[in-house]
Symmetry: C2
Subunit: 284 residues, 2 copies
């Protein structure tokens, strides 16, 4: 996470920056059905860094690691022109009787599989909008918290691999974009029944007109996208608290499209569906 | 490694930057007697980054990883204001019959132990001086290569733990400074017989007057510092090609001093013995 790109240093609680840096890595482990283990933290510090901010950052890093059973075991601190933090995290996988790891992969979707998400979407994107707008209300505070204190779904990833799910990932770039990664890797297409996508309550209250678009395209919710036969997903749901919503299916499509359908089965056009491109200015 | 702090982007071969970023991490594994395994590479790229430079950087990273049996298995690429690269590397340890890891640690020096280094020192610091001076000669080229293409001593670390050495580290900040870390952790002092410190041939040729000072205080040679009873070090030497030079001893010293003695046994004063302080401007 880089100051000025991933967060604005003057406007954040450093505890939140720490939490999120750790949470996004824990979510990468959850995305494959793993259990987080050991983290290395590297800090680039500019000359105007303050020790109190770094202490708060570590407080957030440690709180998140501790919540998910991970330990910070090392790293590095170096001088730099701007602040950035890099977290590297190892994890362990559930194994079968022969010791082979059971993992969620992007290339294991089969035509006819159902697509499910482990919780409501769009809250984090709503929180980002709320932060920019400087509004204040209970809903807006809840949304900001969704954005700043994401809760990776380690429990859901483990439950999924134990129930036999072999395809999935975390939603970090946005539902449609991340599902497109699964379709490309699995050489298939997908249809989403948009009315079945679970929407964050606070998002619906604060931004009712844009809630669905934010849920389909907003990133950093860190819920999991699971792809498996419907019966396998039902087995996963029984192992989980809360919802596991089936929202669509994998279909045969040579063009590997991800299509969102409205209540009448018509294809929807979603504005701004492309995620943030870190490389847009890099020269070939 | 941060552009402008660890290297000057306009004046380096990006292959060398990649080699050194990987080599410094491999040396951290060698420092404990381990064997490098899996690397994650995170790049922060500014808007003016060029793909050809990044390709060259990865060429250097891969060449070094491959030389030492490590694999680059993942990482991240993010947009930033300045270039930096973070490498995280796992390693495996030699184990005893019960499966307990055999490692080199900083806190295991005992009074009376001998102190050895695995090869000539000062070459990297000489190379840095040569780069700044823009001189050109065969010696200067050799020194620059020592600075830009360091060779971590994975072989020496493994040989040392197999021979029973339990105390050591790599020389990354400079002999005196790194030995001070061992003395602090082991609650002891150290004396170095300066004439016994092996000096880089090219360093002696290019900078005869400053060779010893550069060898005692210059960083990034990535040779190993080993501390053990003299017989154990002799056993290590038999397992290694090249030199293992005994240069001093661990002594009882409540002040945990590291003292360099000249040929007549007089304590030497070395100018500029302090290493680079990444945190010198950070505010409390």
């Amino acid at each position: 996470m880089v100051a000025g790109v991933h967060f604005l240093p003057g406007r954040v609680d450093w505890r939140d920056v720490g939490w999120k840096a750790m949470a996004s890595n824990i979510s990468d482990i959850a995305a494959m059905g793993g259990r987080p283990a050991f983290a290395l933290v590297t800090l680039c510090l500019p000359p105007d860094a303050h020790v109190a901010d770094i202490d708060a950052l570590y407080e957030g890093l440690r709180a998140c690691a501790s919540e998910y059973g991970a330990s910070i075991v090392g790293g590095d601190v170096v001088r730099a022109g701007e602040f950035s933090i890099t977290v590297s995290l190892t994890g362990t996988a559930t194994t079968d009787a022969s010791g082979a790891p059971l993992l969620l992969r992007r290339n294991a979707a089969r035509i006819g599989d159902a697509i499910a998400v482990t919780g409501p979407l769009g809250g984090s994107a709503g929180g980002l909008r709320a932060l920019a707008s400087e509004q204040a209300s209970d809903q807006v505070s809840a949304l900001m918290r969704r954005h700043m204190r994401p809760q990776p779904r380690v429990d859901a990833g483990i439950a999924a691999v134990e129930a036999g799910v072999r395809c999935g990932m975390d939603i970090s770039d946005g539902l449609l974009q991340d599902l497109a990664h699964i379709c490309a890797a699995s050489r298939a297409g997908a249809t989403i029944d948009a009315p079945r996508v679970p929407l964050d309550d606070a998002l619906l209250a604060a931004y009712p007109d844009d809630a669905l678009a934010l849920a389909l395209t907003g990133g950093e919710d860190y819920e999991l996208l699971l792809v498996a036969p419907e019966a396998t997903l039902a087995g996963t749901a029984r192992r989980l608290p809360g919802t596991l919503a089936v929202i669509g299916h994998i279909v045969d499509d040579a063009q590997r499209r991800v299509r969102a359908l409205d209540g009448a089965g018509r294809e929807m056009t979603i504005g701004g569906a492309s995620g943030f491109d870190h490389l847009r200015d890099v020269k070939a």
